[in-house]
Amino acid sequence: MDIKTKLKTIIVEELNFEDLTPAEILNDVPLFGDGLGLDSLDAVELVVQIQKHFGVKIKNMEEGRTAFQSVNALAAFIAERLPE
């Protein structure tokens, strides 16, 4: 499973989006606010799940701003930092 698909599965399953399937999440839609509609507490859960599944940590506002723009941005952020 590629990073983007895995991310979408995490969003749906771990964040309990019962009315959404991974395939329905578009790669370039903003994750927060008017896009997918995630909020600050979803971000907390997502940070933990990303660390658990990919071993990559998002630890502050600056990193979060870059990574949480969309599935595309988050996948790129993870790909750059994947442990060897």
């Binding site: 309990n16 927060f32 507490l41 979803d42 907390v44 859960e45 630890k59 506002m61 949480f68």
Partner: protein
């Protein structure tokens, strides 16, 4: 037109703000008196100032009424006036003693902290620790106790530009005993909070205040009526595994404060997105707050309408 103005005024009262009462100049008069003669020189002026606000500024009295009407529903208007005066005086004394700690040094405070050993035990778990405070007692006066816990402290804190009242460490440019996390920052500062807990640090949050546009709230009975409380910290505790220690303080007498831990709340992982899942943990915090207001009825300083229509 008149109705619009009244509605705007009512909204202002209901909304919380950290804006100070009084100007910077007025605050400086108190600081000068403390420098000259300590708190006993500042108290007489405080009595006069509080009396002025109670009699000439009904909006100030109204701010205390939100709480007093629920805590003492049976009391008459005259008794409520007296209670409002008493609660405002107590807050005034707390602020004067905080200023004294800043001007003459925090060692002038006598802090009784018997639960400290319990907090050390929680910190040894290395999951971080959430200290859940409320706007009660000397929540600003007891800040000098935080460094004694031996871990870096992060605090979720919002400050109004018109808040001219100084924290104790600002008087003599002492090091701030905590690093601030801005709740108006990206994602409400949640990433910084998680990062601090993961490093085993202490995170201080207010359990009785909803910051900005935080929608993560639930309504819980408090003093007999449904009131709004945030649950974000409990979600963070669930995800991080950090225990939540309810952390209250009360004023015992001039310059003397007690710090207590009435409850330690552990929130299991995997509670999902539903606010209802966090209800039992918010209830426990509110139960501790309810008990506090029964023991220290004139030390509750959350001056906004938490019981707003829900």
């Amino acid at each position: 037109m008149k109705n619009d103005a009244r509605t705007r005024s009512a909204r202002r009262l209901k909304r919380w703000t950290s804006r100070s009462i009084g100007s910077q100049f007025q605050h400086r008069i108190f600081y000068a008196l403390i420098r000259a003669g300590g708190i006993h020189l500042a108290y007489p002026l405080l009595y006069a100032v509080v009396f002025y606000y109670m009699t000439c500024r009904p909006s100030i009295r109204q701010k205390t009424a939100f709480y007093l009407e629920k805590r003492f529903p049976q009391k008459s208007a005259a008794q409520r006036f007296a209670d409002s005066y008493r609660i405002s005086m107590t807050l005034g004394k707390v602020l004067i003693e905080r200023a004294k700690a800043g001007i003459r040094g925090p060692e002038t405070l006598k802090l009784s902290f018997p639960a400290k050993a319990r907090l050390f035990g929680l910190l040894e778990e290395n999951r971080g620790l959430i200290l859940m405070n409320a706007h009660v007692g000397g929540w600003q006066v007891i800040l000098p106790a935080l460094p004694s816990l031996g871990r870096p402290v992060k605090m979720l804190i919002e400050r109004d530009a018109q808040d001219v009242d100084l924290h104790y460490y600002e008087h003599a440019r002492r090091p701030r005993p905590f690093a601030a996390i801005d709740p108006k920052g990206f994602l409400g500062g949640s990433l910084e909070m998680m990062d601090a807990l993961e490093r085993g640090e202490i995170l201080c949050v207010m359990g009785d205040r909803v910051f900005g546009s935080d929608k993560n709230v639930i309504h819980v009975p408090f003093l007999g009526k449904r009131a709004v409380f945030p649950f974000s910290a409990f979600k963070i505790a669930s995800v991080s595994g950090a225990p939540v220690a309810v952390f209250f303080s009360h004023r015992i007498g001039p310059n003397r404060y007690g710090i207590e831990i009435p409850d330690v709340i552990r929130v299991p992982a995997g509670l999902g997105r539903s606010p209802r899942a966090f209800g039992p943990y918010v209830h426990r915090f509110v139960a501790a707050l309810d008990a506090y207001t029964r023991e220290h009825p004139y030390q509750f300083f959350n001056f906004y309408d938490m019981w707003t229509e829900s």
